[in-house]
Structures are given as structure tokens and as C-alpha cells.
């Protein structure tokens, strides 16, 4: 496996280098000049690493290794990433229901959650650790999901030292970027941008309202400035092609497309992506395999977009892991449930790819899905102090 193409694309030009050096980004610029896949820096402290942003993809919905790295051609893009990074083929998962298991990847704590429980967990998520420790704005930390309202709970937990003020902006891509909502918005017309005078008047009016007994401002992730950027982004995204995506994995593909666009627009430090549609497997093995293939292709497009942007290519790491696998044997509907306690269910294959990671390494020792939280936080310099996972072994070059 060669990364020469990536390296070529990633080389920044002289003007960019000078601009970065002038703005104090000399270390990053120097690292980028050496190419994203040059040998790792001698020091592996977070400040010295090339990794400035991370994409965490929960390849969720229940996906067995048999249909990914155990199959000859379902996931060529994931295989390519693994060949250029580190593969963990024995990653222990917990059958906590899709919601609880995916949440555990972000909290580093595996605890039972109701399958349809539409409530936040107690533990902080990696997004909260990162926002708090690195003092990141909400626009720096995002999650794109495909599973509806329940998955907005991945944004933040209820821990009193963390919570909504450190939460991630969550976008359920299929819920927002769909043709029906777009046509509804279109039917109302384009919003008129307020004039400067109107904005000033609006501020006066808001300031004049004196409300008794307002509830605490819980659930507010964004500052007013950040909210304005998000508002603008949503309106822009509605006009892009995301809403047009169709096919059996449309919701998952929209989440990955949204992640791609978020990276381009905000260059955030962290983007989580939560997929879900592989769960079609309960009723159709073939449908499930097709979802796996299509999601792999969509991940390939995301990686290509990262590689096409020199700044992103030089500084972005990707983690991919299912939340758990599926049963060993087909059910009576020729589908695959998840509840037999087999190794197919309890162990999945995860991978890590990025400028600071080893290349082409397969780590056979047992690791865990909850290790993703600890590893991402450590990579970027945050302390997932309540997480119970460990750093993924043999990851750093």
C-alpha cells in the first residue's frame, strides 16, 4: 500500500506555509510540508502530533466481521484504510441494544440502556471531554447521525461537570436533509435576511422582554454566534445534494455526506458519524450485505474528500468500528438477529487510520469498542477521566 498520491495532494504550497508560519502555525505547517504520511514526529505528545482532527465512524446497526474483513469484496475502502493504518480484528463489544452500544463508544462506558430509551446517559461523551479540556466551540465538534431523535442523545450526557454546555452539535441528516422538508421550506419561501437596522431593532426588542420564571437554559449547545453559523449552514446544506440521496442506505449515506460537508465548511476538530441501517439484517441478510457495501463506498467518498484537501489530509485521523456484531446463524426469516451471545456478536473489527498511526499493522490482542473514547481523547490531548476503556495498543507510530 502506498500513500504517495495522498502525500502529493497533501503537500501545501509555499504561500500556505508562509501564512501559517506567520500566524503561529509553524509546527503544523512544517509537519504538513513533510507530507501527511511522513515518519511520525519523535515526540508523541498531543501537542507534537500531526493529528488535529478526528472522524469517529460508528459503523453501527450491528455488523459482523464476516461481512467486513471476513469477506472478499464487501468493504474495499475499509480494507484500504486498514492496510494504511491499524486493524483490530478482535474488538470486544457489548450487546446493549444499538443505542446503548453506540453510546458506549462515545462514553467509554458499557452500560445497559433501553433500546428505545430516548434519554441521555449519565456519563460524559468524548465530545464533552474534548470541548471542556481543549476549550472548543460548539462549531468544532459535530455528530452526523442517521437514526432519528434518539441519536441526538449522543451529543452530551447528564454529568454535572460536563453536560450540554460541552455538547456536540448533532445533525440527524435524514431528518433534516430530505426532499420533503426541503420542499416544505421551499413552499414557505426563502427567508429574507434582516437588514442591519432590523437586527438592531430585534436586539432591542429581545432585551426589552422581561420574562418571569424562565427555565434553566439546559440543552443549549451553541453560543448565539455559533447558533448563527449553524443556522446558516443548515440553510446552505438544504440546497446541496444531500437531500437528493436515495437508495437502501440513504440515511447512512446522508450522515456520511453531511460529515464530509461539515469537514469542508467548519474544519471541526471532531466529527462523529453514527450509521444504523445495517440493522435491516433482521429481515434480510442480502439487504444487510448491500448496506455494508454501500456504506463502505460512502466512507470511501468521505476519505477521498479528506485526501483532496491538503489541510485535512495532513491532519485528520479516522476511527471506524461497529457497535456490535450479529448472530452466528440466520433466523427463520433468513435474516440475522443479535442476541445469541456468539463471538460473531461479541467481537467486531475496528480500525484506526491517520498521520500519527502505524501502517499496515494488525493487532491481534483483544481490545474493546469502548477504547475508542479514551484513544480519541488522548490523541487530541483530552482526559476521558470517567471512561473505562484504555488506549488502543500499538496505535501510534
Amino acid at each position: 500500500m502506498q500513500r504517495s498520491d495522498d502525500m502529493t495532494r497533501a503537500l501545501i504550497d509555499r504561500r500556505q506555509l508562509l501564512a501559517r508560519a506567520a500566524s503561529g502555525g509553524a509546527a503544523l505547517a512544517a509537519a504538513s510540508l513533510r507530507g501527511p504520511w511522513a515518519a511520525a514526529l519523535p515526540s508523541q505528545t498531543p501537542g507534537a502530533r500531526k493529528t488535529q482532527r478526528v472522524v469517529v465512524i460508528a459503523f453501527a446497526g450491528g455488523v459482523r466481521t464476516r461481512e467486513t474483513f471476513g469477506s472478499s469484496d464487501n468493504v474495499p475502502n475499509l480494507k484500504r484504510l486498514a492496510e494504511q493504518g491499524v486493524l483490530y480484528p478482535r474488538m470486544r463489544s457489548s450487546n446493549l441494544g444499538h443505542f446503548g452500544a453506540s453510546l458506549s463508544m462515545f462514553t467509554g462506558i458499557a452500560e445497559q440502556r433501553g433500546i428505545r430509551e430516548n434519554q441521555r446517559g449519565e456519563a460524559p461523551t468524548l465530545f464533552e471531554y474534548l470541548r471542556k479540556d481543549l476549550e472548543l466551540a460548539a462549531s468544532e465538534v459535530w455528530i452526523a447521525t442517521s437514526g432519528g431523535a434518539q441519536q441526538t442523545n449522543y451529543s452530551y450526557g447528564l454529568h454535572p461537570q460536563y453536560g450540554s454546555r460541552y455538547g456536540a452539535n448533532t445533525l440527524d441528516s435524514d431528518g433534516i436533509f430530505n426532499t420533503e422538508f426541503r420542499s416544505l421550506v421551499g413552499q414557505w419561501g426563502r427567508p429574507k435576511q434582516p437588514s442591519q437596522a432590523e437586527q438592531e431593532l430585534l436586539a432591542k426588542l429581545r432585551g426589552a422582554i422581561q420574562s418571569p420564571r424562565l427555565p434553566a437554559a439546559g440543552g443549549r449547545v451553541n453560543s448565539p454566534e455559533s447558533a448563527a453559523r449553524v443556522e446558516s449552514y443548515i440553510l446552505e446544506e438544504l440546497t446541496r445534494g444531500t437531500a437528493e440521496i436515495t437508495g437502501p442506505n440513504a440515511a447512512d449515506a446522508k450522515a456520511l455526506r453531511t460529515a464530509r460537508n461539515l469537514l469542508a465548511v467548519f474544519k471541526p476538530r471532531v466529527v462523529g458519524v453514527v450509521l444504523q441501517q445495517a440493522d435491516i439484517a433482521h429481515g434480510s441478510f442480502n439487504g444487510y450485505a448491500e448496506i455494508v457495501r454501500r456504506n463502505d463506498a460512502a466512507i470511501g467518498e468521505l476519505v477521498a474528500a479528506i485526501n483532496a484537501d491538503p489541510e485535512l489530509a495532513a491532519s485528520t485521523a479516522i476511527f471506524v468500528a461497529p457497535e456490535f456484531g450479529r448472530d452466528k446463524d440466520l433466523n427463520s426469516r433468513r435474516g440475522l438477529d443479535h442476541g445469541d451471545g456468539s463471538d460473531d456478536l461479541n467481537f467486531v473489527s475496528g480500525l484506526a487510520w491517520g498521520p500519527d498511526f502505524r501502517r499496515g499493522l494488525v493487532v491481534e490482542e483483544e481490545v474493546a469498542v469502548i477504547d475508542v473514547c479514551t484513544s480519541v481523547c488522548a490523541l487530541l490531548g483530552a482526559d476521558a477521566k470517567l471512561a473505562r476503556g484504555r488506549k488502543l495498543p500499538k496505535l501510534l507510530a
Binding site: G114, G148, A149, A208, R220
Partner: protein, 368 residues
């Protein structure tokens, strides 16, 4: 400009017990929408000077219990109750049920020919519920957690038995014999733990607070004897001192309530099913829905849909501002609010659009 004295129409819900604020809050809690203008005007007309006037049609008296009884008796109340059950089970969007047997549930509940336990049972037996929870493990887990109110990790054996029954093998699940998927649901719904978890959830929804444990036990016992008691329980909750305490604080609007309130307040109509579903799904897809709520408000106010977009013919600035506050916040403006909004109305050539936008994007509007 002159402002109406706030105390004259009252925004203190504990003062007279019959205020614009109370009328708005009760509608939002029980019908999950604000009152329409005509309804509000009819309900509050006696307060505008006709002291001693008879209560509005359909009300026994101008009191909180009478208004609550009138709302709980309406099909609208049961329609919203049904919608909230569907949302609880996440039977929305692609999983929203369309069968006649389910869509008739609100009418049957209002007519008294169906009670809430059987309604939940019918929902759980629907094809939508089955599709939403595919496979034995998921289906039985959800039935145990969401219907029987049990923590599956503490009842692993029951889960395995339930899964076997789901697959057609006879067994005893939660103490009741069965051999079908339907039996799994029936066994769960007949549990006392269903009554307890259901009533605790409903109490939380209407009173925005968890129930007292001892009271919950008593309610569950009555509910087990006869589930038709549910409407009376809701009535008693609304009449309670605890609800009085709830009225002294404001609760944030969830996205579903915000969508319905916004459309009713600005357009004086209920949202269509499709409109509601799309707006709710979009807002639910955001961990912080505030930016999109503002976009929706702006779009509606700028569109022809809103009855608030155009300048009002006739009436003084004062009248327009008072009307806006009553309609959107359920209270009259304080003097300095009336002054600021009156001046803004004049600056906007009489168009209340910007004023309404300031109000509906304010935290006070988005709580109640």
C-alpha cells in the same frame, strides 16, 4: 403609548385562577397546542369587563377544574395522547402506523368505548411496532422495557423465555402462559409494573414532575381494577396543588409542542400531519434545535401563511402590542415592554412581523 396593566388580565397563575396564562398553559399541557384566537377570546371575554357574565359555552364555571374537564373530554385531548404514545414507542416517520384500527383510537377513547391499556395493547400489536422492533431479541426487550417497565438486565431469564414464545414455543412469560408474539405483549401489558410505569410516565408528562411513590401505588391499584379511571386521574392531577406549583414555574417546550404552538399561533390552524412530521423530525435531529426553530419562525412569518405578517388595519399600536403578547406569551406586556414594542411597531410601519419574531424566538415563548 399606553399599556394595559398586566395585573388586569393577569399573568400570575395563582392569583385569580383564571388568566390568559392559565388558559394557554392548560391548552398546551392537555391539547398540546395553544388556544385558537376565537377560543381564547371566548374563554377570556368575561375578564374584559363583563363581570358576572356566564361561563363560556361548554364550561361549568370559570375555574381550572372546569376548563380541564372540558379539554380532557375532547377528542383533541385523546388525539394528542395517542400521538405521544406513538412517539414514546418511536413509531414515527417511516414507522408511523396508518391502519384504521389504530387511527380510530382517539375517537374510541373519547367515546369511552376503549380504554388506554387496550389502546397501548393495540399499538403494540400493530405491524408498525413489529417493524420498528424486528427480531425476537429486540421485540421482547422493547416489550419488557417500554411496556412492562422492567430492566432487561435484571430479568435475563424472562427475556430468553419471551424470545422462545415469540418464535412459537410455549412457555410462561412474566407469570402468564403463552406461545405467540401476541402473548408476549399481553403478558407484559397485564403486569402491575405496566400500570406503574405507564402512570409514572403520564404524570411526568402532565405535571412535569415524578409522582410520589405512595400515590403512584394507589393510582396503579385503581388502574389495574379499571383502566377507564385514567381520565379521572388526569383530571385529579390537574386539580392538585402539585399542578398549582407547576403553574408557578415555566417548562421548556419539546420540539413537538413547539411545532404545534408555532403553527397555531402564527397561522391559526393546526399543522398538517406531513408538515408536523417533517418539522418535528428536522428539529429532533439537532442536539440544539434553537437555530432551526428560528429559521422556521422566520420562514413562516415571511410567508403568506402567517396571519401576523401584514400590518393590521385599524387599532392603535398599543392594541396591537397587547394582542401580540396575549396571543404569543399568554400575558399582557409590562409598561416598558409595551413602550419598546410600540416604538418598534411604528418603526416597522405597523407590521408586527419583527415583533412576533422577537417574541417566538425568545425563551419565554419556548417555555410555558
Amino acid at each position: 403609548m399606553q399599556s394595559r396593566d398586566a395585573s388586569a388580565v393577569g399573568d400570575d397563575p395563582q392569583a385569580s385562577g383564571w388568566t390568559p396564562g392559565l388558559v394557554r398553559t392548560l391548552h398546551l399541557d392537555l391539547l398540546r397546542r395553544p388556544p385558537f384566537e376565537l377560543q381564547r377570546a371566548a374563554l377570556l371575554a368575561p375578564l374584559d369587563g363583563a363581570d358576572g357574565a356566564p361561563p363560556p359555552e361548554g364550561l361549568a364555571s370559570r375555574t381550572r377544574p372546569a376548563l380541564a374537564a372540558s379539554l380532557i373530554a375532547s377528542v383533541d385531548f385523546w388525539r394528542q395522547w395517542y400521538e405521544e404514545q406513538l412517539y414514546y414507542f418511536l413509531l414515527v416517520d417511516n414507522f408511523a402506523p396508518h391502519a384504521d384500527g389504530l387511527r380510530s383510537i382517539p375517537d374510541e377513547l373519547a367515546a369511552g368505548s376503549l380504554h388506554v391499556r387496550d389502546a397501548v395493547h393495540r399499538i403494540a400489536l400493530s405491524a408498525s411496532f413489529d417493524q420498528r422492533n424486528p427480531g425476537a431479541d429486540t421485540f421482547v426487550t422493547v416489550v419488557m422495557e417500554q411496556i412492562a417497565g422492567l430492566a432487561v438486565e435484571k430479568h435475563r431469564r424472562e427475556l430468553e423465555i419471551g424470545k422462545a414464545i415469540y418464535d412459537g414455543k410455549p412457555g410462561s412469560f412474566l407469570g402468564k402462559a403463552g406461545s405467540t408474539q401476541s402473548d408476549v405483549v399481553r403478558s407484559a401489558i397485564e403486569q402491575r409494573s405496566f400500570a406503574e410505569s405507564f402512570l409514572a410516565r403520564e404524570h411526568q408528562r402532565y405535571l412535569h414532575a415524578p409522582p410520589d411513590r405512595r400515590e403512584l401505588n394507589a393510582w396503579a391499584a385503581r388502574f389495574q381494577d379499571d383502566p377507564r379511571v385514567f381520565g379521572k386521574l388526569v383530571q385529579a392531577w390537574i386539580e392538585s396543588g402539585e399542578y398549582g406549583a407547576r403553574l408557578s414555574r415555566r417548562e421548556p417546550m419539546d420540539n413537538r409542542l413547539f411545532v404545534r404552538a408555532l403553527i397555531v399561533d402564527l397561522c391559526q390552524r393546526e399543522p398538517s400531519a406531513d408538515e408536523f412530521s417533517r418539522m418535528r423530525s428536522a428539529l429532533d435531529g439537532l442536539s440544539d434545535p434553537q437555530p432551526l426553530r428560528s429559521v422556521m419562525a422566520r420562514l413562516l412569518l415571511d410567508s403568506d401563511e402567517s396571519s401576523l405578517g401584514a400590518p393590521r388595519p385599524g387599532g392603535t399600536s398599543s392594541d396591537v402590542v397587547v394582542e401580540l403578547f396575549l396571543r404569543l406569551l399568554g400575558r399582557a406586556p409590562a409598561a416598558h415592554e409595551a413602550e419598546a414594542f410600540g416604538a418598534a411597531l411604528d418603526a416597522q410601519q405597523g407590521s408586527p412581523r419583527l415583533l412576533a419574531y422577537a417574541l417566538v424566538t425568545h425563551p419565554e415563548y419556548q417555555s410555558y
